[in-house]
Symmetry: C2
């Protein structure tokens, strides 16, 4: 699998080129499905991409008829569609990539769980930027410590405990899922997002996650199984997977990492 | 229109009984459509409601087969469905209440805008609770001031400027909308949510909104038109509309309200 140029791509993803961030949840779905896509802002201008292409659309330049200017990255272009908001993009891609069950009830459920992931991401972001996204981390370090302590001792356990309980409930509701999936009997985009949640939390808060992981064995197993899927394994080992770093959502600052 | 008891209600809304909060975006859609609904936690136990009914479902008690335990209120029960997350609920209700266009492109667009409202609500909440939801406002007042200043001078103008530009764009894309609606040619749940955004911001930040409103004339007009719709006008004048207060998302703390 290579990053395709827009010419050959069915899907064009527009997101910041140097971080995993929220866009990674979309990348994982496209990679798992081996979908032909371009990660536009990571391409050169010659290849038909670059940051300028993304920023132009954010300013409303180059929109096709009926396309809505996005409020913020990530957004996805496919045919006449220009779709923004991660959960909305995944809802759009799910049926097209075979990453969500066909019935309405399961789709509502998958989307509901995905929106809970959105909330979790927002709270993780707030651990290092509680006062303002416009300020440096160094200028809100004290507040970040307070926020992170609350997140790691109250919110993170609540979120992960919830997703763990969803795996148990789905094991009972869908015997065929064998407890391996959050929704329905097969892999969905929600499973992929929970892989990223665990990976990100492990990166940012190794101390907090350490012991806590014993309380979420099914999520840890899910993370392992997803990471072992052939397409994802190849992706994670490739240079298309951007390394975690301190510009993304999940940041490793030792001073924020306390016991859960 | 009266609050119906669950027996007669097609829709049961579960949300905190003493605040508008996020649940208000669902109430507005149900009220505009004159849908038969019960605001369950506001009913007495005798009427078949109360907080206990909501808390039981949050603990997973009383779920029907296939229903997913919600992570947090609000959630909506209708037939075999139990749907959580405001934007997900509105996406579910939209077609059923005639509050979203029929084509997929418009629905993706409406949902995308609704998720941007979700983001705005989260940022408004952070203005008074930047450090932790578990702490009192009084214990994070200093940080709240910093957060609110950033919100009112940077983020709020960006959000409202964006929605104003969507009204302009839709006026061109859908002549029939006459610039009156954010999506398509008719009223949608997104219009109702923007009414609440303006109402809430006016309540919480009268100083900041004051002058700034001149820069968003179409949103102000939209707010006026929505508030004048017969069903909503009756609702807003009724005791079903909970007054704004300092337990909700939009809180009036004079010390946070600075010029935009």
């Amino acid at each position: 699998v290579k990053i395709r140029t827009p010419r050959a791509a069915t899907y064009e993803l527009f997101y910041w080129p140097s971080i995993q961030g929220r866009g990674e949840l979309v990348r994982l779905a496209l990679e798992e499905a081996a979908a032909p896509y371009a990660d536009v802002a990571r391409l050169t201008k010659k290849e038909g991409g670059g940051m300028a292409a993304m920023l132009a659309l954010l300013k409303g330049k180059g929109l096709a008829k009926g396309q809505l200017r996005p409020f913020a990255p990530p957004f996805l272009r496919s045919g006449r569609y220009l779709v923004a908001q991660v959960a909305n993009i995944l809802q759009f891609l799910g049926p097209r990539l075979g990453l969500v069950p066909a019935d309405e009830a399961s789709r509502v459920e998958a989307h509901q769980l995905q929106l809970t992931v959105t909330d979790l991401f927002a709270e993780v972001h707030d651990t290092h930027h509680p006062v303002s996204t416009g300020l440096y981390y160094e200028d809100q370090k004290k507040e970040a410590k307070d926020n992170a302590r609350n997140f790691l001792t109250e919110r993170m356990p609540k979120f992960l405990g919830y997703f763990e309980s969803v795996l148990v409930a789905n094991a009972n509701a869908n015997k065929k899922s064998k407890g391996r999936h959050l929704v329905g009997a097969r892999l969905s985009y929600v499973d992929l997002s929970l892989f990223q949640v665990i990976e990100g939390l492990r990166y940012a808060f190794p101390r907090a996650l350490g012991r806590f992981e014993k309380t979420i064995p099914r999520l840890v197993e899910l993370r392992d199984r997803v990471g072992d899927r052939p397409n994802l394994k190849a992706y994670l080992a490739s240079d298309r997977r951007i390394a975690f770093n301190e510009d993304g959502i999940f940041r490793r600052y030792a001073e924020l990492d306390v016991d859960a």
